[in-house]
Symmetry: C2
Subunit: 386 residues, 2 copies
């Protein structure tokens, strides 16, 4: 039995909220009907499906009919980015799903600073006459830095105005991958000023394999998956009713808990970093000092092997990430740490601790104890200076 | 509360098997970890994920590493068909997901006979020098006719041999959508002789939003969804561990129950059709007289409005389909019924009853009573001859 108290990898996965599951349960068993079937119980399921979509959309200032439900953020990102064959712009610090989707066509990657921050000016400088899409994550998945989405949107609006004057009718769309941060940031598509927004249920204690793409009214996308014509023809396949109901319930819970959780995370993460700084003066903390997700702690111990730390910590039931989970298996160095200019000897000693609903003061103290002991042990064992 | 006893739309959706859910449950809550995370409990989840894939593959004579797990049959079909930009061949009776994916490029649709059957000869005649993929469903989703997959595979092997002699190096692959029939037919990829096989969990009392594409070793596909590189790089996105475990458990249950369920369906469907034939001599039954899924009953009442029948039956808690559920909302006539040459006045009076695990003798008798009464009532009300 795993002790969730010492789980520090909420950015990689969250357990399903029991109450969210209770909302989903009827649609697994009694109300299992295909929402496209013609008889009354199936029509009722369709109504509940549409209502869940609408409630979900409202949590970020949108309307249910503006959503395409997908099997996760990666699919949403591929749908958004893949709809535009023209030139694209994205920061070098983006998640692999954005980078890989962007690299399928002509593109420019924009350098970020040492905090993983991209400036609106640098984005705009990379926009060419034939650029069709800019994609920037709301918050970085490894170091938690929050990008200036609204400012970028405003700059892009100026570019669009210029294009209109010049008679350039090419679309210039702004996609934001907001997979990280939905539970702690107050996300509103109107305020952000984006055209396309990706959200992920699996990061907010909702069901896994469930994401969405919000599409600003008027924006035209190309379907990747064709067939029965579900989701406005943009994503065919029988609707995931239980999944959408769960995503909606998870978003409602996240919205309700957001302010409380934000305050809690600030205190807990602050305590964690304070303990590490005091005990391990050589530790390097990454992420923007001000604009950073409240539950992210990214820390590097130069010349220490992060994989050894993961191993030492897991024996104490403390679970931390080395780099973005989905790249972890590939044996390659984190692209984010390269993007922020971190040296290899520092990057290889980097771990990410992300806090969540089950994290308590006691968990933080325990994890700090264990991490400090592990790093000190490694320093002693290897004789390196850190 | 819906009475599942009178549900006759198992081809559209099946309720989740409670025992399947119990197999999934740990991966929703305690073992929720991202299978790409580096610490031991996550590595254990990955092991269980791979084991579930392998057990699933073995139920149809394949190996776990030959599967790409998807969010359903439609995604699997799009991955298979979308991987080949060259000319494609498919019967006119295919599911919309195959038709729409096929129509994206140059293609030939092959006419089927009045039973929805396609001949290997007609398929081969449509294959050109530049044909790269042939896609034929194992069993039709509306009338249940089973296609001669093995014979088609053998004919295609002859075409490949000729191509090799002629120095034509173009691939010629055979994809089979076996979404319908997995629970009642003994499916084995080796015996079928196909290169690509689509299966769907939602039709076998497994979790919804879960499908797979089996890929014969050596066949090279192009990913649709890129990113973290999961599923051999062919389908990025965090793995749906609970979904795959559920699919695997559902396949095991289906395999175990297959022979018993097949025998039951033959008797129950036989009784249903017998009652309808006796009471309503004008009824027209569709689907191949011999090669037809044991749980499918497709029946047409000329000049009767099938939507009225659905409405009359739902008041008696009997639930039947008018045409394929995912096309039901579109207000268009079934492409399958057009493909088999059915006249509009007959097609518009067509319903599909598909039987399943909860169907009993009593359900069949009751449904037959209600359907006979509804049709007789409509004949009387409208004065039409049927």
């Amino acid at each position: 039995m795993t002790n969730i108290d010492y789980y520090f990898d909420y950015a990689a996965a969250t357990p399903l909220d029991e109450r969210v599951f209770e909302a989903m349960r009827p649609f697994l068993f009694d109300d299992f009907f295909n929402p496209s079937s013609p008889y009354e119980p199936a029509v009722a399921v369709r109504r509940k499906y549409l209502a869940a979509k609408h409630q979900l959309a409202q949590t970020f200032g949108a309307s249910g009919d503006e959503l395409v439900m997908t099997a996760g953020a990666t699919e949403s990102i591929n749908l958004a980015v893949g709809s535009f064959p023209g030139h694209k712009v994205a920061p070098t610090s983006e998640h692999k799903s954005v980078l890989e989707a962007t690299k399928r066509n002509d593109h420019t990657l924009v350098q970020v600073d040492k905090h993983g921050h991209v400036t609106p000016q640098d984005i705009v400088s990379a926009v060419r006459e034939d650029t069709e899409l800019v994609s920037v994550a709301l918050a970085n998945h490894e170091i938690g830095s929050i990008q200036p989405i609204r400012s970028i949107a405003q700059e892009l609006e100026i570019v669009r105005a210029t294009r209109r004057e010049q008679g350039n009718a090419r679309p210039l769309l702004f996609h934001c991958d907001a997979s990280q941060g939905f539970g702690l940031l107050d996300i509103n598509v109107g305020r952000l000023g984006v055209d396309l927004l990706t959200l992920n249920s699996a990061k907010i204690y909702g069901p896994k394999q469930m994401g969405l793409l919000w599409i600003k009214p008027g924006v035209v996308l190309q379907p990747q998956i064709v067939g029965g014509g579900q989701e406005r023809g943009l994503r065919s396949g029988t609707e995931n009713v239980a999944g959408v109901v769960g995503f909606s319930a998870a978003a409602a819970r996240a919205t309700q808990k957001r302010s409380h959780e934000f305050d809690r995370m600030i205190v807990l993460r602050g305590r964690l970093e304070q303990r590490l700084k005091e005990a391990l003066p050589g530790a390097i903390f990454s992420g923007h000092p001000k604009h950073r997700l409240a539950n992210f702690c990214h820390v590097s111990f130069p010349n220490i092997d992060a994989e050894r730390l993961v191993f030492l910590l897991e024996m104490k039931q403390v679970y931390v990430a080395t780099s973005s989970a989905c790249a972890a298996n590939s044996g390659t160095r984190s692209t984010v740490l390269t993007a922020i200019g971190m040296e290899d000897t520092v990057a290889d000693g980097s771990i990410r601790l992300t806090l969540g609903r089950h994290t308590t003061e006691a968990s933080v103290e325990y994890a700090a104890d264990q991490l400090i002991a592990a790093v000190k042990g490694e320093i002693k064992r290897t004789g390196v200076a850190t």
